[in-house]
């Protein structure tokens, strides 16, 4: 069996070059957070330019943040146009649309924003930047993956899902896997369609593996951050 790896390494623009070098030959892609992450409030042309720079620097995946005000004012055309522009700027790179669901006010808004971003070409939809006060939750995830299911039923296009922030225990991860399996099916459990954005999750998984092997419960300091 091939060694288990992370799906991608996600960094700010400044670290792309270093990351690309470090991962050379590993097959692990570098992803960059972009478009004025996490607030997405810098001038529009700079946000587009940031994407272009990051792609040029070697990022194969771009995580954009949407303008929350377009959702809160129900300006769906503006949200669509913004997402389209980001999509075009990405070129061949994968694009994940971060909805910042903790700031959208209602599950209805989450569903609508999910759909608009998928229509405008997002390869993935992602809950949050990890910087909002509320990040991935099960209700929000259910709404987003049902939007993905409806979009697939209507178009045949597979859009991926990434819950981010707040998933730090192996048990939570299994709950999410079960949710995806039940609502979307096993195809969406592959790395090209499902990611966790949770830097602290790995440590807990290692603890659980140690417990599985030895039968004794583990401590986090036995698995230092790699």
């Amino acid at each position: 069996m091939d060694p288990i790896t992370t799906g991608a390494i996600c960094v700010y623009h400044d670290m792309i070059e270093t990351a690309v070098e470090a991962l050379d030959g590993s097959g692990i892609p570098v992803a960059a957070v972009s478009t004025g992450f996490p607030a997405g409030l810098s001038p529009f042309h700079l946000r587009v330019a940031e994407i272009e720079e990051s792609v040029k620097a070697g990022a194969r995946e771009i995580d954009i943040v949407i303008s929350r005000r377009h959702v809160l004012t129900q300006n769906w055309q503006a949200l669509y146009d913004e997402m389209r522009a980001f999509r075009d700027a990405c070129g061949d790179a994968h694009v994940k649309a971060i909805l910042a669901t903790g700031e959208l006010g209602s599950l209805r808004n989450v569903a609508r924003a999910s759909l608009i971003c998928m229509m405008a070409g997002a390869d993935f939809i992602k809950t949050s930047t990890g910087k909002e006060s509320v990040n991935a939750t099960l209700p929000v995830s259910l709404v987003m993956i049902r939007a993905i299911r409806d979009y697939f039923d209507a178009t045949g296009v597979h859009v991926g899902y990434k819950p981010a922030g707040g998933i730090s225990k192996a048990k939570d991860a299994i709950t999410y896997l079960a949710l995806i399996k039940e609502e979307l099916g096993p195809r969406w459990l592959q790395p090209d369609l499902f990611r966790f954005g949770a830097s602290s999750l790995l440590n807990d998984i290692e603890r659980q593996l140690e417990h599985h092997v030895t039968g004794a419960y583990s401590a986090s300091y036995r698995h230092p951050m790699g």
Binding site: M1, S106, L107, R108, L177, K181, E182, P186, L189
Partner: protein, 767 residues
């Protein structure tokens, strides 16, 4: 299986809950479920088996209790009850201790329930047992509050309780908690298939300080149930099939036992085109695949708006494919075993007998399992759309408009629950009152709680379990019922002085009508003087009156304010003619009637006052939402009016009925009918819409059986002095009517309660 393979398939592994502790518990007690009488077990005999339906293996032996044992249980209960009824605060503490005991033993109870019944451990652990615990906590509070809040009510005495196999512990809790809270003692029979959690419960009662004899359990099959019904108990509470409920109604007719029946259902599940379809699909999992569909209130009749039907069915089928059917002790199983091979055969035969529509089934393992099934494209009158299957089988058809959905939902003999899904609150709250059901769930289903009454209308039975409204079923008014002697008509002779025929007519549909049979009789005064002639109504006049009452279909929808105005107007118009009525009544009875006329006027004023004030409640159920306990009219009520009070008896019967929005067919005082026929003129001048009040005169004994067996009458009130209680109660079994036969006079509150049904509308909220 390697880790790589697991990652590829992502199949669920087994997640078994251990049966060891439950099996040890049983073997330590000899492996036999039997009677628990006066705080003692036994005698325990291994008369038949209680099997684990998932494996077919014997779990325990069960004792078929004898008549002597049932009698001993009833005697023990009768002896213990008076002391138990004395102190509400003490009862509260004992009920609280039972709740704690259930909580402490919750896993044992859950595992035992799953072993005995076959339901998934996920349900017994997360639904059945927590709801049972909640019931005891909640009713501990009712015991505490009884003295202050229900000062006019007292315990019934000994309650015989017969419960089904689908929720053995939960149904036990629904029966025993309110009975004990109100100061009754009980003799309960668990179902023959599922007696085991009742054994654990009996031990918990013992530990919780329940006095000996207050809780008695007898085990066995339906014959033991019959013994309880025939025994010296004060009430029978039954949950089970409509057929058995009907037999119990007949068996208890006329013997004074209180009765509550929670029977079958074929509850509609309506999905409007603006519903959250994914949620509505999940709702159906809870509606019809919960407990293998063996649920009286299961949303078993799916009605989908036509425009979204195909999309909805395809989502539903995709969801069905994911249901995991199998070992009920596996913690990630969705659908468990059918309770018994007999029930499996019944489900299998019903589905196999259907030749209509399209059947979609997923798969189920070998053994006592049945696959989740959807049958679409049925007609509203198809057998499977009308008959309760009591299995994981959903039947469906489509509708186009909300009005059509309501009509299809209500075209059933049952009326237990209804579910509707729409994101439009106007539509939801508009449709809910129109559904004929005791419970309406909006955007959710099978929500139950101790604070909200559960129970149905029509052939789903009567009485409520849970909430303030449920306490009425375990209490009676504190008053001494006076038996009434039959009042005979006076006889006499001689001609009426007026040569022109002035025979008083019947009042049907707002018109004075000659009797169908064409016969009349002379009414004589106490000294034999002829006073007038009165029509003799027969069954056809009754039929016509029922038709007329149903034609007045706008009345239940009128406002309480309007009904109050009409009742005040009646009172006013009666006041104007008070002296005329006094003379008439005195001529008929020979007694001074001033007080009676004043009492009739006062009654009209009282119920006019109540017409717009007998409010429902908002129950604080533990969800993010509310349960609205709405008081609705019972429907069309037939009443045999008191014989002794020719005017006030009639008026105090019709006033609460029409104040609450019912329509009535009144059989006037048999010996003294002329006050009622004079009252027709008061009705005619007081804006009472045609058909709302219909008045018949003639023989109560002749009308009573037809009234009680009429399928389009919802309730019969019998205040006659003729001995008709038995016939009324027995015949009311036809369509499981509500009957009120209280020897009088009932209080205002009792009359208002009899004139209304509580419908609980559950409204979850939040985005």
């Amino acid at each position: 299986m390697t880790v790589k393979e697991i990652f590829e398939t992502m199949e669920y592994g087994p997640a078994p809950e251990s049966a060891a502790e439950a099996l040890t518990w049983l073997s330590e007690r000899g492996g036999i479920a039997g009677p628990f009488i006066n705080g003692k077990w036994g005698p325990l005999r291994d008369d038949f088996n209680s099997n684990n339906p998932a494996t077919g293996e014997k779990l325990a032996g069960v004792t078929q209790s004898t008549e002597a044992e049932v009698a001993a249980a009833v005697k023990a209960a009768a002896k213990a009850q008076p002391a138990w009824a004395k102190d509400g605060e003490r009862r509260a503490r004992v009920l609280y201790a039972i709740a704690r005991g259930l909580q402490k033993n919750s896993r044992l109870l859950a595992v035992m329930e799953t072993l005995d019944n076959g339901k998934p451990i996920r349900e017994s652990r997360d639904i059945d047992v927590p709801l049972a615990i909640r019931h005891f906590y909640h009713h501990a509070g009712f015991a505490q509050l009884m003295a202050d809040e229900l000062p006019d009510r007292e315990a019934l005495g000994v309650c015989g309780q017969i419960i089904p196999w689908n929720f053995p512990l939960l149904m036990l809790a629904w029966k025993i908690a309110p009975a004990l809270a109100m100061g009754n003692a009980v003799v309960l029979k668990p179902a023959e298939y599922t007696p085991l959690t009742a054994m654990i419960f009996a031990e918990i009662c013992d530990q919780a300080g329940v006095p000996k004899g207050v809780v008695n359990i007898v085990t066995g099959d339906g014959r033991v149930g019959e013994m309880i019904v025939a025994s010296e108990v004060d009430k029978i509470a039954f949950t089970g099939s409509t057929a058995v409920g009907r037999e119990i109604r007949k068996a208890t007719a006329g013997n004074g036992k209180a009765l509550s029946l929670e029977l079958g259902g074929k509850s509609p599940y309506i999905v409007f085109d603006d519903a959250d379809l994914d949620s509505a699909v999940e709702g159906l999992v809870d509606a019809i695949w919960f407990n293998q569909g063996q649920v009286c209130c299961a949303g078993s009749r799916l009605l989908v708006q036509e425009g979204i039907a195909e999309r909805f069915y395809s989502k539903l089928k995709a969801r069905m494919e994911k249901l995991r059917v199998g070992d009920p002790l596996d913690k990630s199983i969705d659908v468990g075993a059918i309770v018994d091979p007999k029930q499996l055969k019944s489900i299998t035969d019903m589905v196999a007998g259907n030749t209509e529509g399209e059947t979609f089934q997923t798969s189920a393992p070998e053994g006592c399992f049945y696959p989740p099934t959807l049958i679409t494209g049925l007609h509203t009158a198809s057998t499977l759309m009308q008959e309760e299957i009591f299995g994981p089988v959903l039947v469906s058809t489509t509708f186009r408009t909300p009005a059509e959905a309501v009509q299809m939902a209500n075209d059933t003999r049952y009326g237990l629950a209804a579910t509707l899904w729409t994101e439009n609150i106007n539509l939801a709250l508009g449709v809910a009152p129109k559904l004929v059901a005791g419970i309406v769930w909006i955007n959710g289903t099978n929500m139950m709680d101790a604070a909200a009454g559960f129970g149905g209308v029509r052939e789903s039975g009567f009485g409520r379990e849970g909430g303030w409204e449920g306490l009425a079923g375990y209490t009676k008014p504190k008053r001494v019922a006076k038996p009434i002697d039959k009042i005979e008509s006076f006889t006499g002779s001689g001609q009426l002085s007026d040569p022109i025929d002035r025979t008083a007519k019947l009042y049907i549909g707002g018109k004075q009508a000659r009797p169908d049979g064409g016969y009349s009789r002379v009414v004589y005064g106490p000294k034999g003087k002829p006073l007038g002639e009165v029509s003799l109504a027969n069954r056809k006049d009754l039929r016509n009156a029922v038709e007329a009452a149903h034609a007045a279909k706008g009345w239940p929808g009128t406002t309480g304010h309007l009904r109050a105005q009409i009742l005040y107007y009646l009172a006013e118009n009666l006041s104007v003619r008070a002296s005329e009525f006094e003379v008439r009544i005195k001529a008929m009875t020979g007694k001074s009637a001033a007080a009676e006329v004043q009492s009739a006027i006062s009654s009209l004023f009282t119920y006019a006052a109540w017409a717009d004030k007998y409010d429902g409640q908002v129950h604080g159920v533990p969800i993010r939402g509310v349960a609205l306990a709405m008081k609705e009219p019972v429907g069309v009520i037939g009443a045999l009016c008191p014989d002794d009070a020719p005017l006030s008896g009639l008026v105090s019967t019709l006033a609460p009925a029409i104040a609450m929005g019912n329509r009535v067919i009144l059989a006037a005082s048999e010996p003294f009918p002329l006050a009622a026929t004079d009252f027709i003129q008061v009705l005619e001048t007081s804006d009472v819409p045609a058909g709302v009040v219909n008045i018949l005169t003639g023989s109560h004994a002749e009308l009573a059986p037809h009234m009680a067996s009429h399928m389009d009458i919802d309730a019969v009130w019998n205040f006659s002095s003729s001995p008709l209680t038995e016939v009324v109660e027995a015949q009311s079994a036809s369509n499981v009517k509500r009957t009120l036969t209280a020897p009088g006079p009932p209080s205002t509150k009792e009359m208002l309660a009899a004139a209304t049904e509580v419908k609980n509308v559950w409204v979850p909220y939040g985005e």
